[in-house]
Symmetry: C2
Subunit: 187 residues, 2 copies
DNA sequence: TGACAACAGTCCAAAATGGAAGGTACGGTT
DNA sequence: AACCGTACCTTCCATTTTGGACTGTTGTCA
């Protein structure tokens, strides 16, 4: 064993890495300070959900798992609906920062049924005609959001705006692709 | 009720739509004529897996589900490893063609951890430096595959080659994005 | 004859998924 | 004040999906 290599085990078992869903919950909680699962649902819908959606049932389950790991804490409304709200603990902040500083390498996948259809013999022009308007609408939506963000100006986190840019570039790529497919003769 | 509208139910319960994994298995079986789950695993790895991966355990489970639905049939090797191999039935061909002709509308998601990291505050330039080489490598790989396909020429299915083009455009978009992020000042 | 790598398949615990169903608060009627 | 409808909010659950650990098989080379 080379010097500098840590001993092949020790006291602490390697802490389970955070799952993407946990990162999303932790990150949204940090933005919000304190939030209920329902708040998280709203939060996901308008922002990170554009590129990584999480079913609502998971937004109810995940916070409790984070509490169990000491990364968040709960608080129960005394009256009314007795809603539970969550906030990130210092350990949670540390875990989130560590993940964010060194995310798993994974380029992602295109994973769209339209592409599967083309792969297995669909007429590309036909598929293109339904895909194009959708992608154009998405692109416009992202561009509007970017403008709105620019107007809002300082004081807000920069991350969300930067990912919007990825959305724009990706939608443009799709539009270019399906436009090409329009030219392809039928199979 | 307007004429031409079918009665609001009848004998046949609505056939469960195919899942993407089932489409992949059916489609690959059709390309191959007859294949074992292991063959499918190899097949996925080199082609459709680039944009829609399927864990190998599913490639063992899914064919049997297709058999149960009458969309494929099994055959057992008489000796040796007694491998099971599958082939698409006429009903399977019909189901696949129907799906391919009218895939669910779903634009897909970017779903990459790197983007999540940026969203939640990572220094975009730092993330970019690990993402860029990976995407460049992927792009080169796709371009090589396209050249190889062009050399192979006629006689092969057109679908796979067309999806490769989507891969190229997508990788270029990523490269453009992360190159922009390199410019962004640190958080 | 054994060792080893590549091949092939099974199994399972732990999640994700998505929808159905169930409660609660609230504003406005009558 | 009783009622209603709607929006809000939460739980539950059956079904898949997931990835990895584990087992066994075949063929090859020393």
């Amino acid at each position: 064993m080379t010097p500098g290599t840590p001993p092949p085990d020790a006291s602490t078992p390697p802490p389970e890495p955070l799952s993407p869903a946990q990162v999303i919950v932790l990150g949204l909680l940090r933005f919000a300070g304190r939030a209920t699962p329902y708040d998280l649902k709203q939060g996901v819908a308008g922002s990170v959900g554009n590129f990584w959606s999480v079913p609502h049932s998971q937004l109810y389950a995940e916070p409790d798992r984070l509490v169990a790991r000491g990364l968040a804490d709960v608080e129960q409304e005394p009256g009314g609906r007795r809603r539970k709200s969550y906030a990130v603990t210092p350990a949670g902040v540390a875990a989130l920062d560590a993940w964010v500083a060194d995310p798993p390498v994974d380029l992602g996948e295109l994973r769209t049924p339209a592409l599967l259809a083309v792969f297995f013999g669909a007429d590309p022009a036909v598929v293109a005609r339904t895909q194009l308007p959708q992608h154009r609408a998405k692109l416009e939506e992202y561009e509007r959001l970017i403008e709105a963000g620019a107007a809002a100006g300082e004081g807000v986190a920069r991350g969300p705006g930067l990912t919007l840019r990825a959305g724009v570039l990706s939608e443009r790529a799709w539009i270019a692709y399906w436009t090409e497919m329009l030219e392809e003769a039928a199979g």
